[in-house]
Symmetry: C2
Subunit: 394 residues, 2 copies
């Protein structure tokens, strides 16, 4: 169940209820790709302020498999996460990880992948084994994981596809949306899995009319929430912003809206300002492992509000970013003797107050795993704190 | 100051006072090679029951250097460790890491290293740069680190050296011991460094008469504690045991005795039984990162006492090991669906109670960094718990 509690312009402040707890939106969902938010225990992610985390069906399918996941009693138990879990459907990973990109020429086949009306045959990026996902098998795997929020299986077109490919992929995704819903309704849940939500995914590339057709088709089927898929895949940021904003207006006001796979802090602030409620992105965790930290420029209780207002006023993404953070590249020698804390403003990440930039610099230079942890804690808390402040703006 | 509080046979229960706190002996010191116990924060190591940790002068010299270490205010501040720190002198790393092993032919020169009466010239194992350590520069670096317990700089002979090489290295180490003590007494400490202890290192390979000469020479100079060096470097375990036991009897009863760089749990139980007080070893942390866990066979409050009694009775190391632990290779498929905790007996490592063998297996198979952490916490706690139980036996 989703409740819009407040609004500010088109931005919404909501509450999404799941069987593993209530999620305050707008929300950022840290990514536990293969059953762990990289370097962290679930309890540490929760302590940073996360509620719902995201598990990747593709990775868990390849690494654990459906049968074993059922034997293990699902992901909550395995990784010791008591809060909600959202799973993607695997559609995007099949497209992005498994062999080459899907062919833009009708999407029928490309290096390692073959999409037909029934599903996708693909090669494992780990051992090259041939595997297959269909709407039904994706839902079955997501049920085995025990997700609280399941995503429909979708057909993802590459970012530079011709219009016909977007049209085909969007219409196929609609048919697969219906099949995903039927699969969920007709397949018995594992005993450990309380009744979950199912979200549809709006496709259609950067074509507003295709997005509108997709949104209408999904609403006709009826879902617990609606995701905006197929963005942040190579198109220009102005296209992403335009389509995200337009698509948000096409979706029911009483259901959560989820922007999949994006993005930088300034993007999320913008998406929130146009009424999107849920986000996931690898950037905070992946950048952390590469030594790139998001560091507050100012007290976030002030700067996030300023950024939010800039977004509402249609300011440029560069200006919004500039208000929020500096990118700190911790391996630069300028940090070698800097005894100031990693980020004094980033309260809620105790390690960012406790440890110095000099120590983090040293840990990265010496290839110490602890450095990856401290950077991950900083960046995840940055994102989660930003969401807290955004919620306070609405 | 060291106080022997109790004894059981030749085993001693002691208390070593430092300016950063009192250490209960026998003690195991986790190794923070380059300013971090691998994967862990200092506070986590303390929470496992560690008091004193070990920093490697060689690694900190290469990675940070003396001048910068002083500018940073020492290692306690950098890594946020409030307890005591012991530093080795770099002598062993110069021998083991930098280029090939020292030549056994008089020790004058070998691949990458050149030992003369004044010190050792060696190549950095990181970038091949030519560096030099002397007793004076080693002490200066250890002072810069701000160690509570410093080790003399010593000349380490390879494990298969002829007697003359051991003799030369031992006598040179004695001269370097005197120089190390003079260096500490005559060099002003950094402002952040309270007065430390200095330990001498007994050398002499597997020759009891050389060990006796070394021990006497060191006692004549006078140190706050005495280490047994140059063992666990390739000699047979019966030789190690024989020399460790013999050397312990050569050392003053009122000073701590430190076995450097050893060893497996059954070895430590044996060394404790013959009156050695301090230990360090990479095995728990390094094996953890290779997926090899020490797992209790039985309640350690019972099994450690049994192992200690076996050691006192002169039982074989195999029997002592068999009483204590199983080696669990977590990547084996037998663990893939095992939902039992990593080690139910290993209280004091909450993660070993909380997470299942199946999860740890999965994390290792999926190359998740969290797996390295959970395994490290298990193994370190195993060693630290073993020391707690050994102390309770004495």
């Amino acid at each position: 169940m989703f409740l819009v509690k407040n609004s500010n312009g088109t931005a919404r402040r909501g509450e999404l209820t799941t069987c593993h707890g209530t999620v305050q939106t707008p929300v950022f969902m840290p990514i536990a790709t293969a059953g762990a938010v990289k370097t962290l225990m679930a309890s540490e992610v929760t302590a940073l302020g996360a509620s719902v985390i995201l598990g990747n069906t593709y990775h868990l399918l390849l690494r654990i498999g459906e049968e074993r996941m059922r034997a293990l009693g699902g992901l909550h138990k395995l990784m010791r996460h008591d809060g909600p879990i959202l799973t993607d459907s695997g559609g995007y990973q099949v497209f992005s990880l498994s062999g080459a990109k899907l062919s833009a020429r009708g999407g029928s086949a490309s290096g390692g992948n073959k999409t037909d009306e029934d599903g996708v045959t693909f090669q494992s990026h780990i051992d090259g084994a041939t595997l297959r996902l269909t709407p039904e098998s994706s839902i079955a795997m997501q049920q085995a994981i025990g997700a609280d929020i399941l995503m429909q299986f979708d057909d993802v077109a590459a970012g530079d596809s011709p219009r016909e490919r977007y049209e085909d992929a969007m219409r196929r995704s609609l048919r697969w949306a219906a099949r995903s819903k039927i699969a969920l309704l007709t397949t018995p849940l594992p005993s450990y899995n309380p009744p979950p939500h199912l979200f549809g995914i709006v496709q259609g590339g950067t074509h507003e009319d295709l997005r509108a057709e997709s949104a209408k088709g999904l609403v006709d089927i009826g879902f617990d929430g609606y995701a905006i898929g197929g963005l942040s895949v190579g198109e220009s940021r102005s296209d992403t912003f335009r389509i995200a904003k337009a698509t948000a207006t096409m979706l029911p006001v009483d259901k959560p809206r989820y922007f999949m796979g994006g993005g930088m802090p300034e993007e999320i602030v913008y998406y929130v300002s146009v009424g999107i409620d849920m986000f996931d992105c690898v950037l905070p965790t992946r950048n952390a492992r590469h030594g790139m930290l998001f560091v507050w420029k100012d007290d976030p209780s002030i700067s996030v509000r300023r950024a939010f207002e800039l977004a509402q006023q249609g300011a440029s993404d560069v200006d919004i970013a500039d208000t929020l953070y500096e990118k700190m590249h911790i391996t630069k020698s300028i940090h070698a003797e800097d005894l100031s804390p990693i980020d004094a403003w980033n309260t809620g990440a105790p390690t960012s107050q406790e440890f110095s930039r000099a120590y983090l610099h040293h840990l990265f230079k010496a290839d110490e795993i602890l450095g990856l942890r401290l950077a991950t804690l900083q960046n995840l808390r940055f994102y989660l704190r930003m969401m807290e402040e955004l919620r306070a703006c609405i």
